[in-house]
Amino acid sequence: MGIKGLTALLSENAPGAMREQKFTSYLDRRVAIDASMHIYQFMIAVGRTGEQTLTNEAGEVTSHLQGMLMRTSRMLEAGIKPVYVFDGKPPTMKGGELAKRKDKREEAEAALKAAREAGNQEEVEKLSKRTVRVSKEQSMEVMKLAQLLGIPAFEAPCEAEATCAAMCKAGLVWAVGTEDMDTLTFAAPRVARNLMAPKSAEKPVLEFDYEKTIAGLGLTADQFIDLCILCGCDYTDTIRGVGPKTALKLIKEHGSIEKILEAIDTEKYPPPKDWEFAGARELFKNPEVMDVSGINLSWKAPDEEGLVEFLVKEKQFQEDRVRGVCARIRKARQGAASQNRLESFFGPPKIISSTIGKRKVEETKSGKGSKAGLNKKSKGVSGYKSKKT
């Protein structure tokens, strides 16, 4: 998942590339959301107690719908304009990674069985989270939900984050909302994390700027891709014994993976057999993305009856709750969502920095940043009481 250790690396070497933003400062901003990644998170986190997740009467999981509904309405209420992009077919190169994930899942399933027999509740909860997988139907359900909420939703031909990045590059959206750092490797101009975090977590939005990232690291766009491959991406293995810090040092010294391989002691640092770094590089440079030209984005009012039909009748959500969300979204359409930003009249702002005074934010920021990098699991549950919907 993502690029290993990139956040921590950036907070140390390119702190200027990361900025904490308030959730409210995304008012009137269009954001392409990597929906598939978030569905997975919701399945792990939303409404879980032990092994129990939210389900309807038929026993079908509804955590993904619950999560999407609440977080989407939070964004709409803040005047944010989300666009959902779903994964299409995985790229063939991801096969290795996917097989690995499947192995891990099977391993976890076996361990889960053992833990269940041993009656170890803590282990059961931990392991059951690892067995989560998102089915095509669940993905389609979320897409249906998005459409009923009046939000533009697209299925990418391949990886969702690559299409999100393409939308951002084309100026169709302001930023890409994801927790997956490889979106930055796809050269999305702006990546926003924590947009889909629950309100109760009170996490500020963490914004990454692509130009400042590569400038801060002192790399070219191609070198940045090589760095990400060396750190560890979804598509191929890495050189053993080379972590993010060493990777940055090597790239700066030698300029590319080919040159690094010539220079380093491959006995000491063995590269993977038949290492397909060039293929991974190509995937990052020229990913298969949706044609984003000529797309006209619009946000409609939620289809209340459609939502009730889908969520209440099929999925046994509480009706007053669904109607409550609709009412809040409708109100926001009159309120926050109908508000222009000043930039749309006066143009983009320029940054003015203090000439004197202490920059105290720097230290705390890097501290927080590296923590965010290590703590990859979203804690999405704190705001919710476990309750059958």
Binding site: D28, A337, P349, I351, I356, K360
Partner: protein, 261 residues
């Protein structure tokens, strides 16, 4: 070296009260010729405040080179609260320091207080606001404008301001009903009563009352408020402190067409 003394220290207290609700941290700029100024936006970039105290509005003003000082406004307000309304206030900062000093002197010089506020190095976003001719300029008593905004906010969330030959109409709609307030031009000379409307073309725009209400925190600074409007442009609400400076607020209008979003 920056040093500026304001005999009427209460002005600085009022200025701060009128921005601290909108902005948490801001960069104040001290300029050798222009004076002491600030521009800042609220977190959602819907409203902007621009204030300036002219160099010659101060009893004493010295600024050797431009300085940009980041301050937490809530903390600055805490310190300025300790000054009495009659006190003279002097601000001081070194070119390479990391504090700004405030000195409060009572009128008879029998009490002198020194406060030092730690500065912050922050990045703030500035917009380049073009000089435009506005279609409508309204001058009215600031207390009246405050009254209208707070009254209408009890009924609805937004106010439609429409200006025509008839006058200025402020209207809102809420769950409990509607409200309309119309003001007509008068021929008073007294700024506490005068209402004047310069009309180039009729304007009809809608704004969020929440922001307008926070702008009226500047009411104690001036008896008169100047409101400028043009179709498709943010509203400007300006309070002028004669001979000292001004504070101007900008607010982006609401999108009229419901389907446009």
């Amino acid at each position: 070296m920056f040093e500026a003394r304001l005999t009427e220290g209460a002005i600085l207290k009022k200025v701060l009260d009128s921005v601290k609700d909108l902005v948490t941290d801001a960069n104040f700029e001290a300029d050798p010729t222009e004076g002491f100024k600030l521009q800042a936006m609220d977190s959602s970039h819907v409203s902007l405040v621009s204030l300036k105290l002219h160099a010659d509005g101060f009893a004493h003003y010295r600024c050797d080179r431009p300085l940009t000082m980041g301050m937490n406004l809530a903390n600055m307000a805490k310190m300025l609260k300790c000054a009495s309304n009659e006190d003279a206030i002097t601000m001081k900062a070194d070119d390479a320091g990391d504090v700004v000093a405030f000195m409060f002197e009572s009128p008879g010089q029998e009490k002198i207080s020194d406060f030092e506020l730690k500065l912050m190095d922050i990045d703030s976003e500035h917009l380049g606001i073009p000089d435009t001719e506005y279609a409508v300029t309204i001058r009215m008593p600031s207390a009246e404008f405050k009254r209208i905004c707070s009254d209408l906010a009890t009924i609805g969330d937004t106010v439609a301001i429409s200006v025509s030959k008839e006058g200025v109409k402020f209207s809102t709609t809420g769950d409990i009903g509607d409200a309309n307030v119309t003001l007509r031009q008068n021929s008073e000379d007294d700024k506490e009563k005068m209402i004047s409307i310069e009309l180039g073309e009729p304007v009809n725009l809608t704004f969020a009352l929440r922001y307008l209400n926070s702008f009226t925190k500047a009411t104690p600074l001036s008896d008169q408020v100047v409101i400028r409007l043009s179709p498709q442009l943010p509203i400007v609400v300006q309070y002028v402190v004669v001979d000292v400076g001004y504070i101007s607020y900008y607010l982006a209008p609401k999108i009229e067409d419901d389907d446009a979003m």
